[in-house]
């Protein structure tokens, strides 16, 4: 087995078994993430069932164009992430670094647009709290919508920041020559994390921005 000696941890029979084990472990972690976000999604959904008129009115205050662009940006970053893993499987070190940098840049664009949206909400007094102002039938219900909006998008943004940190580490390890076509698993697992965060946004976009636009 060429090149395996440095990558293969001693508790595994071979590199395939190690790969299966690493993937299972990552997916167990992602399952806990599903539960973590699932609870917040449930809270959002229950109050949406009860306060649907206020949810619809509050959702119209979100910018569909910025939200849509951000969804596209995140989908692009998932593509560059997938291509980075692809390059890692082929051992093309330079290409890996380029695609990881592209992923970081796209993630940063997403966070920048998100920050711009947050600033607008601040200017419009739509941040829940003492200064919350909402012209509508049920301001208290609308405030609840914005509480879920900030909790869900805030936790999502935190995951993005952690993801960008992970990518920086992967770039460093790639430049130090830690990976090979036989052993590229950390990049693939960081990719799983990035794609998961993308999936969370895939649900957040229609649920927050597109409540009742017709």
């Amino acid at each position: 087995m060429p090149n395996h000696s440095t990558a293969l941890a001693h508790q595994f029979d071979d590199i395939e078994q190690q790969h299966d084990s690493v993937s299972l472990g990552m997916w167990i972690f992602l399952s806990t993430e599903i539960m973590f976000f699932g609870g917040m999604f449930l809270g959002y959904a229950l109050y949406r069932a009860w306060y649907s008129p206020a949810y619809a009115a509050a959702s119209r205050h979100l910018d569909i164009l910025l939200g849509g662009i951000n969804t596209g940006v995140l989908l692009c970053s998932s593509l560059t992430m997938a291509l980075a893993v692809h390059a890692a499987q082929l051992g093309a070190r330079r290409t890996v670094v380029i695609f990881l940098i592209a992923t970081i840049l796209l993630g940063s664009v997403f966070l920048g647009i998100k920050g711009f949206e947050y600033y607008h909400k601040y200017e419009e007094h739509l941040i829940p709290g003492d200064h919350f102002q909402f012209e509508g039938a049920n301001p208290k219900h609308a405030q609840l919508f914005f509480s879920f909006y900030f909790a869900l998008t805030g936790m999502h943004a935190l995951h993005m920041i952690i993801g960008i940190g992970l990518m920086l580490v992967m770039i460093l390890l790639t430049l130090r020559g830690r990976f090979s076509p036989q052993y590229y698993f950390p990049i693939e697992m960081a990719g799983l994390y990035w794609h998961f965060v993308d999936i969370v946004w895939v649900f957040l976009f229609p649920l927050l921005y597109l409540v009742d636009r017709s």
Binding site: E16, H19, D20, S23, L24, W27, I28, L30, S31, I34, M35, G38, G39, L42, A45, L46, A49, I64, G68, T71, G72, L75, C76, S78, L79, M81, A82, L83, H86, Q89, L90, P181, Q182, E188, G191, L192, H195, F196, D198, I199, V202, F203, F205, P206, L207, L210, D212, R213, S214
Partner: protein, 101 residues
Amino acid sequence: MSEHIVEKKTYFGVFGALMALLGATVVIAYIHLGKLNVIAALTIASIKAILIILYFMHVRYSSRMLWIFVGAGFFWLLILFALSFSDFLTRGWLPQPTAWE
């Protein structure tokens, strides 16, 4: 090597489908369908999620054991939503007694 290397054109194909679905979900949101709007939005989001999981996350090319692990996470989510909604959304179905006789 047991790990399957996905062809680049597969990734680009999946990406194209994801962008098309993003366009579709925005367009459909502006068409008045009543309760079908939210169902359409969630269906499209689920298709996008499944595409990402199967191709970008390589689950399609992974072992059956991994399929069970992935399925378990989402099955748990199904339980959470099904049991919670079966409680909260059915509370008004039966008349409540005003007082014990």
